[in-house]
């Protein structure tokens, strides 16, 4: 009878119930849409990082903290063996999609024909491995990933950030827009810095060894593992924007073999990281635990450690934290609005139905029965409002996702469709229903308690 009474009492004051319901629906929609938008950003960022640097990386111990740009001291010497052991491990194998090496180095890239140079961070990659990394799409994003720009290029090919191309005055040769050459010291009558004679001879030897690419040729100068300077003559095939200017201004990608030859020369080649990509992000703890086990046993010859993508990319955690804070703030705000709206509605209901409360108490209903009756009404409002809100949110999400709206998310250069992930995400939907229902029950509690404590005689007189 409690539920029948609750339903009928809600229907009795239809306009007020509908207004309250509308507040809960709007709250649910706001939470689900913003939550879906935040979730899409999180998945998108995660996908970007996992496609470029994998879920986990095996690195030389302390490389992450102290070894960046120092492949000589922090290289993995026996990296092929390490990769074989990882690929062959019966625990890890079912979780793996890609295991590929990279070599990161610091150096100076120069277009000495133009008399310009700048410091860069270069990454030597295995093109096939990198292209496999780019296939990861665990969250079902639309579109096909573009292959690495180095795909199918010559051994001395390189891809640079647009910032690097701009400084090295390659814009014209690479067909870059919005990249006019600056008024340089040379053009103002200054003198370009000359390449030292020993490096110039190294550069000439390198250039003679490879195919001529006069317009886009650059020299990459780096210190070898033995501490001597070495130069690689590279042919820039493309300039790609890297979204973050600081990265765009230093980014150079080249073939792994080329990078290894630059650093290790004739010595056995090494890498600075073994990139490991898993089928699913949730497999990270298990995969990490197994990797650490292997590093302590079968691979204990070298001091290695495992880093996950969140550690390797602090920007990810910061962005997620930022959106989580906004989402939390919005959720709390909506919770408070619903709390007061339902509380006000139930207070009005208690006031208007005071004689009824007196009657029910007189004929034997306990105080707890009165409390239950009003709290059931609050709970029904919360349930109905949040369920209705889910339907509206699904409809709006469909319209937004198919509305052709695009935006450029943080950390990306290209515009992507604005997507809110509501459909297929039961967790947030259940969470919203539970949370808002609890909020409505809580907000009904105070008026319900007040109603239950009304003196029977006073309530009967309250006609």
């Amino acid at each position: 009878m409690t539920w029948a009474l609750a339903v009928r009492n809600l229907a009795r004051n239809r306009r007020r119930s509908l207004t309250t319901l509308a507040a809960i629906v709007v709250g649910t929609v706001a939470i689900l849409l913003f939550g879906g938008y935040t979730r899409n950003i999180r998945y998108g960022l995660q996908m970007g990082f996992v496609r470029s640097s994998g879920h986990l990386q095996v690195q030389h111990k302390d490389y992450f903290l102290y070894g960046s740009g120092n492949p000589a001291a922090y290289g993995i010497a026996d990296y092929r063996h390490v990769m074989e052991v990882i690929r062959a491990d019966r625990v890890l194998a079912p979780m793996l999609t890609v295991v590929t090496p990279t070599l990161q180095l610091g150096g100076i890239a120069g277009n000495f024909d133009a008399g310009v140079s700048r410091t860069v961070i270069a990454t030597g990659t295995d093109v096939d491995g990198q292209n496999e990394l780019r296939q990861w799409n665990d969250y079902g994003f639309a579109g096909t990933p573009r292959p690495l720009a180095l795909t199918g290029t010559a051994a001395n090919a390189a891809v640079v950030g647009e910032g690097v191309a701009r400084v090295l005055q390659l814009c014209g040769a690479l067909g870059l827009r919005r990249c006019a050459a600056p008024v340089s010291d040379t053009q103002r009558g200054g003198v370009a810095p000359a390449l030292p004679p020993d490096l110039a001879s190294l550069s000439a030897a390198e250039a003679a060894a490879g195919p001529p690419h006069k317009d886009t040729r650059i020299e990459l100068l780096a210190a070898t593992a033995r501490g001597a300077p070495n130069v690689a003559s590279l042919s820039v095939v493309k300039a790609e924007s890297q979204a973050v200017k600081e990265l765009d201004d230093v980014y150079v990608a080249l073939h792994l073999a080329q990078a290894q030859r630059l650093i290790y020369g004739g010595d056995p080649p090494q890498v600075t990281a073994i990139v490991i990509q898993l089928h699913h992000t949730w497999q990270i703890p298990a995969a990490r635990a197994r990797l650490e086990q292997l590093l302590a046993t079968a691979l204990q010859r070298e001091p290695l450690e495992v880093q996950d993508y969140e550690t390797l990319n602090p920007y990810y955690g910061q962005t997620i934290g930022f959106f989580a804070a906004i989402f939390g703030f919005i959720s709390i705000l909506i919770g408070v609005i619903v709390l007061f709206t339902v509380g006000n509605t139930m207070s009005m209901a208690v006031f208007e139905r005071t004689p009824e409360i007196g009657t029910l108490r007189a004929i034997g209903l306990r105080r707890s029965g009165i409390r239950k009756m009003f709290m059931a009404e609050g709970m029904l409002l919360g349930l109905a409002g949040s369920l209705l809100g889910i339907l509206v949110a699904l409809l709006l999400a469909f319209l937004i996702n198919h509305g052709g709206i695009t935006w450029t998310p943080p950390g990306r250069v290209d515009a992507v469709p604005l997507t809110v992930r509501v459909w297929g995400e039961p967790g947030p939907m259940i969470g919203v229903v539970l949370a808002l229902t609890l909020v409505t029950i809580a907000s009904s509690w105070v008026p319900a308690r007040r109603g239950a404590r009304i003196n029977i005689v006073a309530a009967l007189r309250h006609a």
Binding site: A4, P355, E356, T359, R361, A362, I363, G364, I456, L460
Partner: protein, 235 residues
Amino acid sequence: MDLGQQPAAVLRNVAKTYRVESVEIQALRGLDLEIRSNCLTAIAGPSGSGKTTLLNIVGCIDRADQGELEVSGTAVGALCDDALSDFRATHLGFVFQSFNLIPVLTAYENVEYPLTLTNVPAAQRRTRVSEMLEAVGLASHAQHRPGQLSGGQQQRVAIARALAAAPRMVLADEPTANLDSQTGAAIIELMRRMQQEHAVSIVICSHDPQVIAAADDMVLIRDGRIEAVRREVRS
């Protein structure tokens, strides 16, 4: 114990004082009264004499400041609020001046409600509710809501509700005050008949001469004191 011989209620030195702002109003001043079982008792008196307060205390919806009260042999003064609620549900029925039916429930559901409080099984509830509505002549109006019934019909439903759980005593506060004299007379007649058929004590608080005339016993109250008690000798 022969419940038929046990008084429906016994009041000893019962007093009640209300405080309205800073003014104290002595509604009852040390009342001693025995309400006989299986009788229709009328409590009469002018407005403000304390008759409704007396009815509320006997009906266990208000507590006396002093004195003792036994209802159906139970010292109700010692009961906690939940126990008192359960006691009302099983032992007492109420009929109000404004009928006080639950507007969102049908006549059937209003009569059924007290039975749900005492956990009467559904099948038994159906039989009992049908009997009660039949007895008050409203079987055909079972699915009507109070708003679809006349005042007299609503009061009939209220009487059926008061008697549904087979209480020992029914308390009625001015049951005819909101009805025209003809309908009021019909209600009094119905209450009289039901009192006899169901062997229940009915205490009616009223200054309606029809009620006083129909009553077995009459308690006249003035300024919170019993001025006179008239008891009819039972045959």
